[in-house]
Symmetry: C2
Subunit: 322 residues, 2 copies
């Protein structure tokens, strides 16, 4: 309910998902608003339930609001529904901090994991890389990065069928001696645990596809995705501004359009749709606040893939064992 | 001497600079190699001196090498020349960590500044923003960010004639309550000192030109510039790959070429050429290891501008006073 285009885009995305995938959905939030949206569509009534949640966590409210004050928000009610009933996964395009806090407190952590991490599937020059953490844990200890790496390793192997996912530590400088005190400590822990640890990876290599799992703290990971988003927007605006000065260049742009759109589609966050919140004891998918219906549909597909691959059970078995 | 294209690109850049600007240069490094390069050009012999430095710090050696082992490296000898003689500024395209370490130890710090910061002039949708620190201090305390902000404020005002430079803290989330413990503490210090403090700025706004001086720790700042570099390269490669599949799109690209080159030139690091190392008691300019002659020439111009604007004296007077 708190996302930028809720509940319109959420409901539209769910309707799309029901056409393509075999699943059923419970929509959690303000019942009248959801019903109003649903009334626009023709769909199988048996596949959609509504669970009323009278409160909404705003996008700019502190994360703890969902736990302390708004216990009847769509986020809190949804997370508790995941915990108590036969639901397989919870998806939200609302306040990320609130989802992280509510999931951590209410679902608890996987054995062997102390803090959650948000993983993001990034398109690269090769195929996909998995960047974790992009914002759940902004003050981690080095061992939290090790736990993130263990989860990322399972995720890339199970969900993307990468046989031996390589692990890289996002750092400034290639050598083990480079970086902050924190990153040197994390480097030691990772190199002691993974055969597939390729060492430090610098930020200019993130999109090259050099490494399957890129590990960093939540502050740095959030900076990476936001600077990428902003740079593409600014570069695009700059190019448009220049091209508009020159009719020939505008013709050129028109001729390139279909190819450029293909690139744009490839790089579009909505193609994957959701970022898994890993480490909590339940499947939680966080979508961009500006998610359009396609992003929501694809987040549902991504969550379904996690269910099909029994990702939670595999993580529980492997991480605790290690 | 340690840079990727040294001494060829350095010497070529100096020759270019001497044609355009009124100054003289001492080239520090392996005398025979420098003389060999110089012999390719016709230039005013009175404007170039050579100071032999028999050792070279490699790009991947630890920063402390220049201080402890290689006291006769071009970096150490150059920094000491700046300290002892009538030279106004020192420029290096070599090992950044070594330059920072050598400058800090040998030149000492400005009164009121505890740690150096590397500032980078970034092209934005408006004009320029100044990002500091991009890699000198990877484990700062919040007060070091305040010191960086004080220096950035002077720099943007004096060098770029911005009347009241705005100060923003690079953070994840807009509200003062957002971010890591470190960034919350830095937010407090900055808001207590600057009238022109606009609060937190998110990474997607860096290139929008919203803020004149963007303050962050050296780890995060280095990530920002490297991810930007890598993303532009990967996006470019991706677009080329797509366009090559379609002859019409290739024609389109040809028609857009001159405009795209203009954008490229605008965004090109070599247009500014050097990143000032602020906080040390001397004018030190750090250039990209891959600097071409144009970048070196422009770094010399940037250093000359710092000299003309008496930036060191102004910083000493203002920061100590505060």
């Amino acid at each position: 309910m708190g996302g930028d285009f809720a509940p319109e885009a959420i409901v539209a995305g769910v309707i799309e998902a029901l056409k393509e995938f075999d699943l059923s959905v419970t929509l959690v939030g303000l019942q009248d608003k959801i019903e109003k949206e649903l009334s626009k569509y023709d769909y199988n009534k048996e596949k959609i339930n509504i669970l009323h949640a009278p409160e909404v966590v705003g996008m700019h409210e502190p994360a703890t609001v969902s736990i302390r004050q708004k216990k009847n928000s769509s986020i809190s009610v949804g997370i508790n529904l995941l915990k108590s009933s036969g639901h397989d996964a919870f998806i939200s395009a609302g306040n990320t901090g609130a989802v992280v806090a509510s999931a951590t407190i209410n679902l608890g952590m996987l054995p062997g994991v102390d803090r959650p991490g948000i993983g993001l599937v990034l398109p690269t020059l090769k195929r996909f890389s998995f960047l974790i953490d992009v914002g759940a844990n902004t003050d981690p200890k080095p061992e939290h990065l090790l736990q993130s790496a263990l989860m990322a390793h399972v995720y890339m192997r199970e969900i993307f069928s990468v046989a031996n996912p390589s692990i890289g530590l996002l750092n400034i400088g290639e050598e083990a001696s480079k970086g902050s005190d924190f990153s040197k400590e994390a480097h030691k822990l990772l190199s002691g645990r993974f055969r597939d640890f390729i060492g430090n990876i610098e930020a200019n290599e993130i999109f090259s596809g050099k490494c399957d799992c890129i590990i960093c703290d939540g502050f740095v990971g959030n900076i990476v995705i936001k600077v990428s988003e902003g740079l593409m927007e600014s570069a695009g605006a700059l190019i448009k501004r220049e091209v508009k000065k020159d009719p020939l260049a505008m013709v050129g742009a028109a001729l390139m359009k279909s190819r450029l759109q293909k690139v744009k589609r490839y790089a579009d966050y909505s193609e994957y749709g959701g970022a898994p919140l890993l480490g909590v004891n339940g499947l939680v998918m966080i979508s961009h606040g500006r998610s359009n219906p396609k992003a929501i549909k694809n987040a549902i597909r991504a969550a379904q893939r996690e269910v099909d691959h029994k990702i939670l059970e595999t993580m529980k078995a492997e991480i605790y064992k290690k």
